[in-house]
């Protein structure tokens, strides 16, 4: 049963990825996929797969995995079932950082760092707003603060872009709604390093997050320096989220939905929860990107719009459980 769960999660990711590579304006038969990936067979199919679809799917896998792990870590640490980088304003702050970095001409390697700095500023701002609102124990207050900070970040980006070229503005707006369509291999390489290293660190902290999820007093009784541990998880989860933002813009609700799906399969401890959330997040974003490409052809929907369409009803159901 337990092994079956992991086989299922991996199989789902592989299956959705294969379909996402095969389906599109130019359909490629599953039997021809491997040839196309290696650059053999039909040259048109090979070009489409190697330069368009494969990078896109790999980027979606990394973005989804990062958002899933980041959401699961934030939920466990804040003991808040509604926490996730997008709703907490982390992603919005990261977007401001990324826009500033792009304006300054920082390269692809430093872009996530700039996004990370923006994310940290947003986190700090969200906590300050939540404190001003009182109600420290209420998980909804921090969410509200995060949404406010996210709206402020959006406005800041608009101000930053006010005098930019029209096509720069268009690209920026498209990116802000989330997209893995323009992913390039160097970008994917950088993203992979950030996601694997920082995500791996979160998996390592998983056992400590199990203890943090008991509440501050219980965690302190078990020897955890609670404030420091929470800060540490926040830093790393924000770094993961910032890396996804710098590659794919704002993709909301994945970090919210995914950990709940994995928990529903009976995973409770955070280490397996993180691994499961990475796999499920990857599957969900690959699927959402596939839907973004095929729902309204020939137009393409923003990835963030598709994940929001999936995520908002889910958010409402979770919100109802809290009240």
């Amino acid at each position: 049963m337990r092994a079956g769960r992991w086989v299922f999660l991996v199989a789902a990711l592989v299956a959705v990825s294969l379909v996402a590579i095969a389906v599109g304006t130019i359909s490629i038969p599953i039997s021809g996929l491997w040839d196309a990936v290696r650059g053999g067979g039909d040259p048109l199919a090979a070009t489409v797969v190697r330069t368009l679809r494969l990078p896109r799917v790999v980027a979606a896998i990394l973005v989804g995995a990062g958002l899933g792990v980041s959401g699961a870590a934030l939920q466990g640490t804040l003991r808040n079932p509604l926490a996730e980088p997008y709703l907490l304003g982390v992603s919005g702050g990261a977007a401001v950082g990324a826009v500033v970095a792009t304006a300054l001409g920082l390269g692809v390697v430093l872009l996530p760092i700039a996004a990370f700095v923006g994310a940290l500023v947003a986190v700090a701002a969200a906590f300050i707003v939540a404190r001003a609102a009182g109600g420290r124990g209420d998980p909804r207050v921090l969410l509200m603060a995060g949404v406010v900070v996210g709206a402020f970040a959006n406005a800041a980006i608009m101000v930053l872009l006010a005098n930019a070229e029209p096509n720069v503005v268009r690209n920026a707006l498209w990116w802000m709604m989330g997209s893995v369509g323009d992913a390039t291999w160097p970008q994917i390489g950088v993203l992979a390093v950030y996601i694997v290293v920082a995500g791996g660190a979160l998996v390592l902290f998983g056992r400590e997050i199990d203890v943090l999820a008991l509440g501050a007093d219980a965690a302190a009784g078990l020897g955890v320096d609670v404030d420091r541990a929470i800060r540490r998880v926040f830093l790393v989860a924000s770094l993961v989220a910032a890396a996804t933002v710098s590659a794919a813009g704002l993709v909301g609700f994945v970090g919210l939905v995914v950990p709940h799906i994995v928990r529903a399969t009976g995973v409770r401890r955070h280490r397996p929860l993180f691994v499961g959330s990475a796999l499920t997040g990857a599957t969900l974003v690959v699927l959402a990107d596939l839907l973004a490409r095929i729902l309204r052809p020939p137009a393409e929907l923003p990835l963030g719009a598709v994940t929001a369409l999936i995520g908002v009803p889910f958010f409402l159901s979770k919100l109802r459980q809290l009240t």
Partner: protein, 268 residues
């Protein structure tokens, strides 16, 4: 052995001390109980012990070494604490929860070994929660949950056990079961420090009683020495008599009726 020496605690931002120089000893192989009215500083002592609130002055010692100088892990390997409140944001299984008691021994790197397994099994058996292993925490009754929390603390294999009102919300049978268990734990060699409102049970089970009043020790000694009407009445600010319980002859407090509506004025 845990020693509080002239411990003074002031919460950050507060204008007055919550605890004004409390000294007490929780000796090895004894059950020491801290009692007192609401707001007398009992829970604050526990929170100071686990570092959730800093000591303004004084010291908390574990075998003559200041607890504050121990790392969190080391402190938790030597002192297990069951805090007053604990609610899980995401329900886990009882077995997984009890296993968290090994966290101070494992940290994030070490894998659990046979020693950890033995500690978990011993704690589960001692607390009598073995049959609950596969239950989810959110399906437990109040009594089951308290015993599961005790099992988690026992799994820490510490030399001292500190509990903040472990029998709150429990019925008579479950309350007795917890006290019997704590008594056995103390007799097996651990120092047990218990914060409780259950004066009459404490009088039967505790070896040593410390009565707190407004952040100070009002009385300390054996239950017979502390459980006296002339000591308890001014502290609880309620008329009462102390009698002997007919079963075992321990001192027993009986609050009297007659002060209608006259509430106490120093509620926190």
């Amino acid at each position: 052995m845990i020693v509080f020496r002239d411990a003074v605690v002031r919460y950050p931002g507060a204008e007055v001390d919550t605890v004004h120089g409390v000294s007490l000893v929780a000796a090895t192989a004894q059950l020491t109980a801290v009692v007192g009215p609401n707001g007398s500083g009992k829970s604050t002592l526990v929170r100071a012990l686990i570092g959730r609130v800093p000591l303004a002055s004084g010291a908390i010692l574990l075998d003559d070494a200041p607890v504050t100088q121990l790392s969190g892990d080391e402190r938790a390997r030597r002192i297990a604490v069951v805090s007053q409140r604990e609610d899980l944001a995401f329900p886990t299984l009882v077995s997984e929860y009890v296993a968290l008691g090994r966290f101070p021994h494992l940290g994030v790197w070490r894998a659990a070994g046979p020693e950890d397994q033995r500690a978990i099994e011993g704690a589960t058996a001692a607390a009598g929660v073995g049959r609950l292993d596969d239950r989810r925490i959110d399906t437990l009754s109040g009594g089951e949950w308290q015993r599961v929390r005790l099992a988690r603390a026992l799994a820490q294999s510490a030399e001292a056990l500190v509990l903040d009102e472990p029998t709150a919300f429990l019925d008579v049978a479950h309350e007795m079961a917890v006290f019997e268990l704590l008594h056995r734990v103390a007799r097996s060699g651990q120092a047990v420090l218990l914060v409780s409102h259950q004066l009459n049970l404490v009088a039967r089970f505790a070896d040593h009683l410390v009565l707190l009043h407004r952040g100070r020790v009002a009385a300390a000694g054996s239950p017979d020495e502390v459980m006296r009407a002339e000591i308890l009445e001014p502290v609880y600010e309620w008329p009462l008599v102390v009698t002997r319980d007919p079963a075992v002859g321990a001192p027993a407090l009986v609050p009297l009726r007659g002060r209608t509506g006259a509430g106490r004025s120093n509620e926190q």
